[in-house]
Amino acid sequence: MLSQEKTLNGERPAPVALRGAARGGRAAASGSKAWMGWLAGAVVLALLVALPWVAPYFYIFIATEVLILGLLAASFNLVFGYTGMLSFGHAAFFGIGSYAVAMLLQAYQWPLLACLLVAVIVAMLLALTIGFFCVRLNEVYFAMLTLAFGMMVFSIAHQWRSVTNGSDGIAGFMVGSFGLGLDLQLGNPSVYYHVVLVIVLLAAALLYLICRSSFGLILRAIRQNPERVAFCGVNVRVYRLASFTVAGAFAGLAGGLMAPFLRIASPELLHWSMSAEPVLMTILGGSGYFLGPFVGAAMFVLLETWITSMTQAWMLVLGIILAFMVMFFRRGLLGTLLDWIRERK
């Protein structure tokens, strides 16, 4: 996955017409690179699966959080890295997904899968509504309007005590069955980690498919030059709205996974500072690569964990790292790493 995505973004080597692809050198950059990409992917996957048995107990929680926030950041990157819209309101969809799952578990004890489905639909509808107004605007105005809507959603969650329980949030719910007749002990962190791993992998695969599709091609074109795309006969606004809505749905799924993990859905999940997290993660990891936001989420959570164990000034250190990345490694950690590997050859 890594190396294929790289060919979409980076400079392409001379065409290689050997692999029976539709076009010479198109899907396959070069045999050895694709091979190394798959190998790296397989190793990472194996490590993720084996993590509860090989890593300290504490890291099960870290890894669960990384996966969930990685999905959130990847969904954000569909809007930002692929469609070119900087949204500062992405936490709204994450948060509403959390609340949906928390409320359903508290009131009806539905199976987790059913709750997640509702979370996705609710987040998608919210994104469709907010996006309808936002995609009309460009650049900074778009960013400001998403921020404004994000604050409104936060206020509702924070103030509408009779429904959302205000600043206390929805807590005290039991995580029951999974669904599909599977007998999983979701209360066990290790089991829940594996559930999250599978769902995030499936969601990421779907998101990746969308990014590589003809729809994704048009989105990438819109990011680079929306006007030119409009003059090719594309209603840019509709595509932006579609991108925003799909991203909202995936963010809702991430949020839905977060509530059982935290055992609470609270207004902080909708706060505008939460909206900044996927932005930061995407910049840390690299917006030009599909897996960049996941790498960024891992960096973010691990740095937060390590640095807060040493000093209280976590935000200061994060700020320094971020400034450094933006000034010198604009392609993010993953982008810089892959560039380095390519240049070495």
Binding site: N225, R228, C232, G233, V234
Partner: protein
């Protein structure tokens, strides 16, 4: 070639655009005949690009009407105008620089075929789109550059990619805005030959703005001379060449340039 027997593809009446107190385009009437190549010339600031912006929907006219194939398109958004078959190039290269040359064309083909709605395919293996894009790249002799990133190819090649993107939308009416600007003489020749052969294929109607008089007189069936937003003269190259006002207002000392 008498006007009465000609099929009119685009009819512009009383078209005007005011910016503040200035008329960038003022009261322009123009009938464009199907399959002709009509050059629009005039000094910088004559309103040529604004005229294009009005025709392609980038700007709303302050007054007047634009009728394309019997349909009023005044004030339509660009994507709808493009879908009806009017496609334009830009004076400044306006392509997808981070994509390959092939992908640039594929974006336009994907848009044309309405395949942008497909979210579960793999764009780089979309055979229909690739076949169309490949044929067009072949026709413009861009096949060798197909896998290069559009941002790193030469300026002249970028101009050609721009034209390829325009043609990929299968337009009936093509608006080219200074297609040879900044090109080497060889590249200019290449574009001229291309427009000429496309014009002769009978599939296209061209509007073309250009500063290079060799290109203008080499390609145009008719020439529209604009001056300060207004139509100064409209006629055959011979008529325009002989027109005293044109000589005074625009061509002036350019007699030697005008030799075809």
């Amino acid at each position: 070639m008498t006007a009465a027997t000609q099929d009119i593809i685009l009819q512009v009446t009383g078209l005007g655009k005011r910016f503040g107190g200035v008329d960038a385009v003022a009261n322009v009437d123009l009938d464009v005949y199907r399959h002709e190549t009509l050059a629009i010339i005039g000094p910088n600031g004559a309103g040529k690009t604004t005229f294009y912006n009005l025709l392609s929907g980038r700007m709303h006219p302050s007054s007047g009407r634009i009728v394309y194939e019997g349909r009023d398109i005044t004030g339509m958004p660009p994507h709808e105008i493009s879908r009806l078959g009017i496609s334009r190039s830009f004076q400044i290269n306006n392509i997808f620089e981070e994509m390959t040359v092939r992908e640039n064309v594929e974006v336009a083909v994907t848009a044309l075929r309405g395949e942008g709605r497909r979210w579960h395919n793999v764009a780089s293996r979309n055979r229909d789109v690739q076949a169309d894009a490949g044929a067009l790249l072949e026709r413009l002799s861009l096949s060798d550059l197909a896998d290069q990133r559009a941002g790193v190819i030469s300026y002249g090649d970028k101009r050609l990619v721009e034209i390829a993107v325009v043609l990929a939308t299968r337009p009936k009416l093509v608006l080219l805005d200074e297609p040879t600007a900044g090109m080497t003489p060889d590249e200019t020749q290449r574009v001229m030959q291309l427009v000429k052969s496309l014009g002769q294929s009978g599939d296209y109607t061209f509007l073309i703005t250009e500063h290079d008089m060799n290109v203008v007189f080499g390609l145009a069936d008719r020439i529209l001379v604009m001056h300060r937003g207004q139509k100064l003269v409209l006629g055959t190259p011979e008529e325009v060449r002989a027109h005293p006002e044109v000589r005074r207002a625009y061509l002036g000392t350019a007699d030697e340039e005008m030799a075809p």
